[in-house]
Symmetry: C2
Subunit: 319 residues, 2 copies
C-alpha cells in the first residue's frame, strides 16, 4: 500500500504525518526544532519526525512512497533547495534539503512554502472545502497569508501571500521585519510580546511574564496569551485588541482587492484563541469592507495544528 509523509517545518516544532491514498492521517509526530547545529541537524530531526510518525501509524518504511515538506524561507522545489529560512538556526544560505531527505528515504521529495501547503490543506480537506477562492490567514509568530483563486494556489512570482506586511498604519509601529506600519507590527506574536515587554518595563501590570516564568518558557506563547486573557489581564487584552484591529483592517483590505468567498484563520495564535479569534476578525473587518453587504465567510481552520503537515503530504499524495 502507498503511504505518504508530510512534514511541517516550523521555528519551534517539526510536525509530521503519514497519510494513506485517501489522505487519511494514519500517524503523526511532533518534535522540537533543533535550536543549534544548522540545516544538517534540522534535516536529521525531520527524518526522525517521519520515522516516529511511521511508528505511530504502524506503517513499515518500505510503504512510504514520497514525502512532502512545508518550509519557511525561499523554497525552490525544482532545485530542491530552501534559502534563508526564518526562525531556523543558521539557515541563512541555500541548503539542498530535497536531496538530503531524498537520500535518507530513498523516495521523491516535494518542497513548498509552509503557509501555502496549510492553505491548500484547508481548501482540499478542511474548512474551505465548499469554496473556490479563499484567503488563509495564519496568525502566529508572524502573520502569513495563503491564496487560492478559482481553485488554484496563487504564488505570483513566488513571493505572494505576504499579508503580514500589508500596511495598515502608515507612519505607525515598527515591524520585526524592519518596515513601518505592517499588519504584523501589531498582530504578530513576536511584535505583541515586544509591546507587552515595553509596557511592562514602563511599570504597567500584567500576569503575562509571571505565567511565562511559571511555565518555564522563554517567550509569550499563544497559550500564555490565552491564559492571561482568561485571567482578565488588562494589558494583554489591550494588546490582543490592537492585534484584532490590525488583522481586521489588513484582511478587509485583501478582501477589497480580491473579493474572495472565504477567509480561513489558523496559525498558532489563531487556533489557540479559536472561535473568539474568528468572531473578532469578522467584526473588525466589517467597517473596512467596501462591499459590506456581502462579507466573505470567516472560518476557523479545521485541521488545526496538523494542517501544515497534512498539506505537505498532499503535495505528494495528490500527484
Amino acid at each position: 500500500m502507498a503511504r505518504y509523509g508530510g512534514i511541517d517545518l516550523g521555528g519551534t516544532k517539526i510536525q509530521a504525518v503519514v497519510v494513506d491514498e485517501a489522505h487519511e492521517v494514519l500517524g503523526s509526530s511532533r518534535l522540537p526544532t533543533p535550536t543549534t547545529g544548522g540545516p544538517a541537524d534540522v534535516t536529521l530531526a525531520m527524518i526522525e519526525s517521519i520515522n516516529v510518525a511511521l511508528e505511530d501509524a504502524g506503517v513499515p518504511r518500505s510503504e512510504l512512497v514520497a514525502v512532502g515538506v512545508g518550509s519557511p524561507g525561499v523554497v525552490d522545489d525544482a532545485a530542491g533547495t530552501v534559502t534563508s529560512a526564518r526562525n531556523l538556526p543558521d539557515w541563512e544560505g541555500t541548503y539542498p534539503l530535497g536531496e538530503k531527505l531524498g537520500a535518507a528515504f530513498d523516495a521523491p521529495i516535494a518542497l513548498s512554502n509552509d503557509v501555502n501547503v496549510a492553505t491548500q490543506a484547508e481548501f482540499d480537506l478542511g474548512a474551505a472545502k465548499p469554496f473556490r477562492s479563499i484567503l488563509g490567514v495564519f496568525w502566529g509568530t508572524g502573520v502569513g497569508g495563503g491564496l487560492i483563486l478559482d481553485g488554484k494556489l496563487w504564488e505570483g512570482r513566488g513571493g505572494a501571500g505576504e499579508i503580514g506586511h500589508m500596511v495598515v498604519k502608515k507612519g505607525g509601529a515598527q515591524c520585526p521585519c524592519g518596515r513601518i506600519g505592517c499588519m504584523e507590527a501589531y498582530a504578530g506574536r513576536k511584535a505583541m510580546e515586544t509591546e507587552a515587554r515595553r509596557r511592562h518595563d514602563k511599570g504597567e501590570k500584567t500576569v503575562l511574564f509571571k505565567l511565562m516564568k511559571e511555565r518555564g518558557r522563554d517567550r509569550l506563547t499563544a497559550g500564555i496569551w490565552d491564559r492571561a486573557l482568561k485571567h482578565g489581564d488588562k494589558l494583554a487584552q489591550e494588546i490582543v485588541d490592537r492585534a484584532y484591529g490590525a488583522l481586521g483592517a489588513g484582511v478587509a483590505s485583501a478582501v477589497n482587492l480580491l473579493d474572495v468567498e472565504a477567509v480561513v484563520i489558523g496559525g498558532g495564535v489563531g487556533i489557540k484563541l479559536g472561535e473568539t479569534a474568528r468572531d473578532r476578525l469578522a467584526e473588525e473587518m466589517q467597517p473596512h469592507l467596501f462591499n459590506d453587504d456581502r462579507p466573505p465567510a470567516v472560518l476557523m481552520a479545521e485541521l488545526g495544528d496538523l494542517g501544515g503537515a497534512i498539506g505537505a503530504a498532499l503535495l505528494v499524495a495528490r500527484a
Copy 2:
C-alpha cells in the same frame, strides 16, 4: 467590414471609439456627461458619442457590428443592467442599459466595469503587453484598481479591485465612501480637493482655487493640480505628496499580497501628472515592499485617455 464601438462612461465625460478588427482606432469622440435627466438622457448621449465617432472614422453605421461599454456602478452583463452608477445623475437604481443601446444600434452590446476594461486594454494593447500578471491603478476622482492574474481578469465575486478602499492608515482620514483610513481618503482627487478647501478655509495660501476660478471650473481638476504644482504651490505639493505616500503604501500592500509582475498607473490624475506620478509611486512603494530586491515594473498607462473606450471596444472585438 466589421467595425466595433467602445464607450467609456465617466462621471464628467463620455468617450467613444470605433475600432477595426485589428483593434486600430478609426475614430473617436468626447462628450460631456449630462448632469441632469437620469439614465435615459445619459443613454442618449452615449448613442450620440458613437454616432460622432463613426462620423470621425468615416464609417457608415451599417458596418458597426457590436458595441462594448465600460461603466461605473454594479454592472451585470448577462442581465444588461447597470445599478448605482456613482457620479452619474439619478442613477441609483437598476437601468437596462444593454437593452436600450441594443435597440438604438440594432447590435449586440457588452457591458463591463470601467476600471476592468481599461486594465484589460493596457494588458492587451498598452504598457502591460509584456506581462502576464498586473495591477492597474486608476488615479482619478477616486482610485480604482484592475487585476489581471496569469492572463485573466480577476473579478472575485464581481467586486474585486477596490484598491482605493484598502486601509493605509487605521484611525486616519475619512474617505468620501464614509470609511476611515482608505487609500482614497488621501489620494482620490475628490478627497484631495476636500483637504485643500479645508486648509484654504483655515487661511493657508494656495493658487488652487484662483486657478479654478480663472478656468471657470467648479472643481479642482487634474489640470489645475498640475498647474499649481508647476507654480510651486506649497499646499498643493503637500497634498499631492500625501497622496503619493498613500498610493505607495496601498499599492505596495497589494504587491505584497499578489506579487504581480507589473503595476500600470493611469486615470485622469495619473495621466496628467505623467512620468512624475509613475516615478513617485515607485519610490513611495519601495520602503513597504516585502520582496524589495525585485519590485514589480511600474509603468505609465500607454493608451491614455482613450484606454477605457478602447478596452470597451475590445469586449466585443475580441469575441
